[in-house]
């Protein structure tokens, strides 16, 4: 187990190195010049050249990457080109909000999605099943922006139950988390239903029923733990989707997360911020996947860690 963990951590470090290299390379070949963004509209060629030299952007690719990596190993993520401040401090200031929203959002997805999925599987083929599966298609196809704004409009503006955007209290968290929960629940609902239907047919469930266990007990003790396995893998994946797609929800609800930071940085080629956010979210994804692989055997002991 320990050996496995060490090997996986080593592999994770390699993955992060790979991500940093590819991202850096892409930003290097990107046809947009960060110096132009820094120097402003009236800059002379001399201004441009001097800024380029100061930032080391006149160096060959491997020198630039090497310098970045070396600083990173010493815990320095560099300074933002446009905000002229430490990238690490910008990310740390926003990371808690993003993580909070991620946890709450995935929690909401799980609660809504798994409930829908289990209910649909248990009443397979009935109206409630069809209705729920229909709903899952609608939620998956709904544009984030519209759902977010609609919830905001109804529950915050019209009914006044929640604040209109912002950050700080649990009340602020409800609508953004609910938006993400609704949008992502379709995946979990359909996965859970499908997995549950499979498991309910499996021999061991039939055996358990034959042994005279009650339906409720069989479902809770035998069917659910088995059915939930693919869903666990899904959480690891979901972290990746979250990190990429949280921008819209953040900006509608005025949520101060790293999504907005990254979006503005991409628009204006602020390379140190793009690199920083990419690496931090890559870390989250790698950790999420590692946890998913570690948790799977706990739920289904037949999977052995190798």
């Amino acid at each position: 187990m320990a050996a496995y963990l060490i090997r996986r951590l080593f592999q994770s470090a390699l993955i992060l190195l790979g991500v940093s290299f590819i991202t850096f390379l892409l930003l290097y070949v990107l046809p947009a010049d960060p110096v132009r963004q820094i120097a402003g509209r009236s800059a002379t060629p001399q201004n441009i050249a001097s800024i380029r030299a100061q930032l080391g952007l006149d160096q060959p690719f491997f020198v630039q990457y090497g310098r970045y990596l070396w600083a990173l190993l010493q815990g320095d993520m560099g300074r933002s080109y446009l905000q002229r401040t430490d990238v690490a401090s910008l990310i740390w200031a926003r990371l808690p909000a993003s993580l909070l929203l991620m946890v709450a959002g995935i929690g909401a997805e799980l609660v809504i999605g798994l409930t829908m999925g289990v209910v649909a599987a248990l009443w397979r083929g009935r109206t409630i099943d069809n209705g729920l599966m229909m709903t899952s298609f609608v939620t998956v196809s709904a544009p984030q922006f519209v759902v977010a704004l609609l919830l905001l409009y109804v529950f915050a503006v019209q009914l006044g139950w929640f604040p209109i955007g912002g950050y700080g209290t649990p009340a602020h968290l409800v609508l953004p988390a609910l938006t993400l929960g609704i949008l992502g629940s379709g995946w979990y609902a359909r996965m859970m239903r499908s997995s549950m239907v499979e498991v309910l047919r499996a021999d061991f469930v039939r055996t358990a029923r034959a042994k005279g266990l009650t339906r409720g007990r069989v479902i809770l003790r035998h069917a659910l733990p088995n059915a939930i396995l693919p869903v666990i893998a899904m959480i690891g994946i979901d972290i990746g989707i979250f990190m990429g797609g949280i921008v819209v929800v953040e900006s509608v609800f005025g949520w101060p997360g790293i999504g907005q930071l990254a979006w503005q940085a991409i628009q204006r080629v602020d390379i140190p911020i793009i690199m920083g956010v990419t690496l931090v979210s890559a870390c989250a994804i790698v950790i999420g996947n590692l946890l998913a692989d570690l948790v799977a055997p706990l739920i289904d002991p037949r999977i052995r860690i190798r």
Binding site: R36, R41, A97, V157, P256, R268
Partner: protein, 538 residues
């Protein structure tokens, strides 16, 4: 031998009493807090660096420069300088500083601070996007090349007098001294901040930064020792960042926000205007901005003037204005109508499809041609590009649209690989109200170099010389100079490197409790709002 310069605008400003006596609004009630929202985060509050929509007016309220503008207008007035003298040759400016002005840290501002601030903004290490504005100051080139660490042309005569010598006459120099980039900052505070002055700004302005929660909000607090007696009216201003304009408007309608900094989003415009109560709170104002299409004159087919003129005639500007809910006026020349030097009696190229086709035929392109139109990807720009595309199709020109992120469009424009660019979202908004500001970087030879902002790559030596001559005149407001500039832009229009499409009108909204002249909410200089002069009525 120095002489007081006599021009109408300047006399008006110098006739003010020596003490900072403000003509206060008799209806104004001091106190209160307002909430202002912006979509984009505030990158920095360092006056040498900030050059964004949202931080421009914030910096104006935190800092002061030697020169300033009458609120809500484009009329120059002295700021931290109490008065100034200009030598006859227009090369030496002597500023007498206002005594007793203190920074937010309690120290008195002196001539040394002015010199330090100008050195700082022109130093290459600062990498200021505004450094180029100071190119006329003697010793600038040595600074830019790193040979000097202090501007030779700026001298401290005594603690309250600073003298600035120019290497060439620059009619716009006083406007430059009113830019945010010329704000006076205290050296010790900059050094204490150790590179993070943009997060811990210290100035002489009407407000000081009380709190900044990164990514969420900023709180500005009234500077009780502000040198303009009686100002500001407000106790505090809260800025909330990271909010969609459409949500900001919902919050305004709900009474939570006083001013939506990004204005009224297009999707809500008709709803607001249809309600008389809300429409009454909408403020409209002109803006020193022009939206244009650049035509790359260095590559076929836009190297032929007939083709460029034909495109000018093919664009239905009225329909484009209709698409953006009438929030603009059609343009026929680079300068916006409220800019001095605007040619009022010029008709421009009228919308005439047949004439455009005839011109194309004359250029040997009767069957049209294929080209590309670059556009920034935020609404309404791709829509406008599609309208342009349809207009071009009517004269047989097939333009495919490249809708890209801002940085990519700017790159393509600078590299000269984009045949046509619709400027929306990146369009030129004047830095100061002078006709020269629309020429150098965007229509002159200096900007036509690789990477420059002159995306047409238009470079006409004769027109450039005329522009230089106009800028060498000492007084910016003389009719001769304005006539020269008018002439420059008329010659540009003959060559037609641009299609001027419209001049955007700014529409913003305020809560019912906001007081103060409407002009303050569409201030042409303190964009978007002049926080120093607005107040709340409850």
């Amino acid at each position: 031998m120095k002489k007081l310069l006599a021009s109408t605008a300047l006399i008006a400003s110098l006739s003010l009493p020596a003490m900072a006596q403000e003509t206060l609004d008799p209806n104004a009630t001091p106190g209160g807090n307002i909430t202002v929202t912006y979509k984009d985060d505030v990158a920095t509050l360092d006056p040498a660096i900030g050059y964004d929509w949202q931080n421009w007016s914030m910096i104006k309220s935190l800092f002061d420069g030697l020169m300033d503008y009458e609120p809500g207008t484009t009329t120059l007035r002295p700021g931290l300088a109490e008065s100034y003298e200009v030598s006859e040759d227009g090369l030496t400016f002597t500023f007498a500083l206002r005594p007793g002005v203190v920074f937010h840290n309690g120290r008195e501002m002196t001539a040394e601070d002015v010199k330090y601030s100008l050195d700082r903004v022109t130093l290459p290490e600062t990498a200021s996007p505004g450094a180029g504005f100071f190119a006329a100051i003697a010793g600038y080139d040595a600074m830019a090349s790193g040979e000097a660490t202090t501007l030779e042309g700026v001298t401290v005569v005594d603690p309250l007098t600073v003298q600035i010598t120019l290497s060439r006459p620059d009619a716009t120099f006083l406007h430059v001294m009113a830019l945010n980039f010329a704000s006076v900052v205290p050296q010790e505070a900059v050094e204490e901040a150790a590179g993070d002055f943009g997060r811990m700004p210290v100035g002489t302005g009407a407000f000081k930064l009380a709190d900044w929660t990164v990514g969420q909000s900023l709180l500005f607090e009234k500077n009780a020792d502000y040198w303009r007696a009686g100002l500001p009216y407000l106790d505090t201003v809260t800025f909330e960042v990271g909010q969609e304009p459409i949500v900001a408007l919902l919050r305004l309608q709900n009474g939570e926000v006083d001013v939506p900094g990004d204005g009224i989003p297009p999707a809500k415009f008709q709803e607001v205007m249809a309600d008389p109560e809300q429409a009454a709170r909408v403020v409209e104002g002109g803006q020193l901005q022009t939206g244009y299409i650049t035509l790359n004159v260095t590559a076929a087919p836009f190297d032929q003037v007939e083709v460029r003129q034909a495109v000018n005639m093919a664009i239905n500007k009225d329909r484009i204005v209709q698409l953006i809910n009438g929030r603009a006026v059609p343009a026929n020349q680079p300068l916006p109508p409220s800019m001095p030097g605007y040619t009022a009696d010029y008709d421009g190229y009228a919308y005439d499809v047949e004439a455009a086709k005839a011109l194309l035929a004359e250029a040997g392109l009767a069957d049209g041609f294929e080209t590309e139109l670059y556009v920034m990807n935020t609404d309404p720009n791709p829509r406008i590009a599609q309208a342009i595309q349809q207009d071009l199709a009517a004269i047989g020109v097939t333009a495919s649209i490249q809708s890209l992120a801002q940085a990519n469009v700017i790159e393509a424009g600078g590299a000269g690989t984009a045949p046509m660019i619709w400027s929306g979202g990146m369009a030129w908004i004047a830095d100061f109200p002078d006709p020269s500001n629309f020429f150098g970087p965007i229509l002159g030879c200096a900007g036509a170099e690789e990477g420059g902002w002159n995306w047409s790559k238009f470079c006409n030596a004769e027109i450039d010389a005329a522009a230089t001559a106009a800028d060498s005149m000492i007084d910016p407001a003389t009719p001769e100079r304005l006539a020269m500039w008018s002439d420059v832009y008329m010659k540009v229009m003959e060559e037609a490197p641009w299609v001027p499409v419209f001049n955007e009108q700014r529409y913003t909204m305020k809560s019912a409790r906001m007081g103060g002249d409407d002009a303050l909410y569409v201030d042409p200089v303190s964009i978007p709002v002049n926080y120093d002069y607005v107040y709340v009525t409850e």
